[in-house]
């Protein structure tokens, strides 16, 4: 699925506060691309994901999915959040099947229930969780729960996967492992992915391109094209080329050693 963001702006208005979360964001994402969005906390990355998915309407600008403007949630997107948010009273299998139930309630399913169930089993197997199909979330570790969450996001075969700092709550080792797992799963399904993170090495390891966002109000400062070969192997994290990409990204964010954050550069 190709995505086009055209001059997006989002302002949140409450009775006592006006917050401009996102300003003048424009970008194009190709079909099958893995794009990371990186930026400091509070820069509007999560808001941007919600604008792309149609959960929030933009104050200005338009989101195009395959050249069609987005006017609301369309049910063809997979979403993975920072916390697994599994339904604790359901088994792993029933959690993965959840999107099917939502779509079925709106008579919006393109395949039969049996097809979905087969797909659920396949996804769980691919994620290495087939022995936990009938387990309950509280019997799984955080990383395992997040894997279930990823399966759930893929079950209705969406063309676009939105991931909002999905590995943010995990420790470094589990995070690196999950990165490799994600690439493996992505390699087998080849979706378009927009991956939000504030972890630079993660963005470099996973992506084809990294879009760098500024502080709030978030806007695109620039992009880094990650020139590393695929498939990405764990050893690549220790190469000079990898570090060069990390440095390039850091400088674009303005976090190089001794660099002054953009907003604090005095203007005359």
């Amino acid at each position: 699925m190709g995505i086009k963001l055209d001059g997006l702006r989002k302002v949140f208005q409450t009775s006592d506060l006006t917050v401009e979360a996102v300003r003048d964001v424009s970008a194009e994402i190709q079909d099958h691309e893995f794009v990371s969005i990186i930026g400091p906390s509070g820069c509007g990355k999560s808001t941007l994901l919600r604008l792309v998915s149609g959960l929030l309407p933009p104050t200005e600008g338009t989101v195009y999915l395959d050249d069609v403007p987005v006017v609301g949630p369309a049910g063809n997107i997979g979403f993975v959040f920072q916390s697994p948010t599994l339904l604790k009273w359901r088994t792993v299998f029933k959690n993965v099947m959840f999107p099917y139930e939502v779509l079925a309630s709106q008579k919006n399913v393109s395949a039969s229930k049996a097809d979905f169930e087969t797909r659920a089993h396949e996804l769980l197997k691919m994620a290495g969780l087939d022995e936990f199909t009938d387990a309950y979330p509280k019997q799984l570790s955080g990383g395992m729960q997040q894997r279930v969450s990823i399966c759930r996001a893929l079950i209705h075969d969406p063309e676009l996967l939105l991931m909002d700092e999905p590995f943010g709550a995990l420790d470094e080792f589990t995070r690196e492992f999950m990165n490799e797992e994600l690439l493996r799963i992505w390699g087998e399904t080849k979706k378009t992915v927009i991956f939000v993170t504030h972890h630079i090495p993660e963005a470099v390891f996973l992506s084809d391109r990294i879009l760098v966002m500024s502080r709030r109000p978030g806007t695109i400062l620039g992009e880094v094209v990650v020139d590393l070969p695929r498939p990405r192997l764990p050893e690549m994290r220790e190469t000079v080329e990898f570090l060069e990409q990390v440095v390039a990204t850091r400088h674009l964010i303005g976090l190089g050693a001794g660099d002054v954050p953009p907003e604090e550069v005095p203007t005359l």
Binding site: W89, E101, S105, E131, A135
Partner: protein, 266 residues
């Protein structure tokens, strides 16, 4: 599947010694109760209290065995009041909790009034209730349901508000309706809270049921206690208290067991 997966799944399995713990959950309190009874007997030997003030355990146990049926019959009558009051109050509490949570005008208008109804000691209402409905079942139902409803309302609201926003967003992103969200996410999520609220409401109804019989005696075990007091029949009073306690404990733990079964994931 990695080694870490297996290790983490196994740590959820039952540990050694859990089986003996289950038996001790029954024997420990009984043992403690036996010690208390013994202490009671000792207290009588030591202090020489007159049997009207503090009858010895043997006399109380006599009453329990000779008048056991009578006591249980009356307790069951009281239980009838408690049960119905709890049901009415519980349903009202659940419905009002849902309405207050989802409809802001209802919340603004009704919630403070519900708080007022709950906070006023029911004893204050009782003379009014008796004036309106006489000293029969109806007034007792009003007392017990008034006592039972508010914990349910409060806990229902708390439970519904605690739902993961991201789960709701996930449903919305798939074009799910608000009713779908309520049925499949909010309600199950709120269940542990609602049931805990019901358990508190049950306890309140229990207390209120017995109390309303004491304040205006008619039927039920509370009335029998008041009668016994008029005859200084202290051993009967203590025996009756034990019966009330026994039923109360069974009701409480029975409900707790039900709670754990229904909300096994919590």
């Amino acid at each position: 599947m990695t080694a870490t997966d297996v290790a983490q799944a196994e740590s959820a399995a039952p540990q050694i010694g859990e089986k003996s713990g289950r038996i001790r959950r029954f024997t420990d309190p009984l043992l403690f109760a036996a010690i208390l009874v013994f202490g009671w007997q000792v207290a009588i030997w030591v202090t020489g209290f007159h049997p009207v003030v503090l009858p010895p355990p043997s006399r109380v146990f006599d009453i329990l065995s000779n008048q056991g049926d009578f006591l249980v019959d009356n307790m069951l009558t009281t239980l009838w009041t408690i049960g119905w009051g709890f049901l009415i109050g519980g349903v009202f509490g659940l419905v009002s909790g849902i309405l207050i949570n989802y409809i802001p005008p209802v919340r603004r208008a009704i919630y403070p009034i519900l708080v007022a109804l709950y906070v006023i000691p029911k004893a204050v209402f009782i003379p009014l209730f008796i004036l309106w409905w006489g000293a029969g079942l109806q007034y007792k139902l009003w007392v017990t349901s008034l006592l039972a409803f508010f914990p349910v309302t409060e806990n229902t609201i708390t439970g519904l508000q605690g739902v993961d926003r991201e789960m709701v967003e996930l449903t919305q992103s798939l074009q799910g309706s608000q009713f779908f969200t309520f049925r499949k996410i909010s309600l199950p999520f709120a269940m542990p809270f609602v049931l805990a609220g019901l358990r508190i409401g049950l306890t309140e109804a229990f207390i209120g049921g017995v109390l309303s019989e004491i304040i205006v005696p008619s039927t039920g075990i509370g009335s029998r206690i008041v009668e016994a007091a008029a005859f200084s029949n202290t051993e009967f009073i203590i025996a009756a208290i034990m019966v009330v306690a026994a039923f109360g404990v069974v009701a409480y733990f029975g409900f707790l067991w039900l709670e754990r079964k229904i909300t096994f994931w919590y």
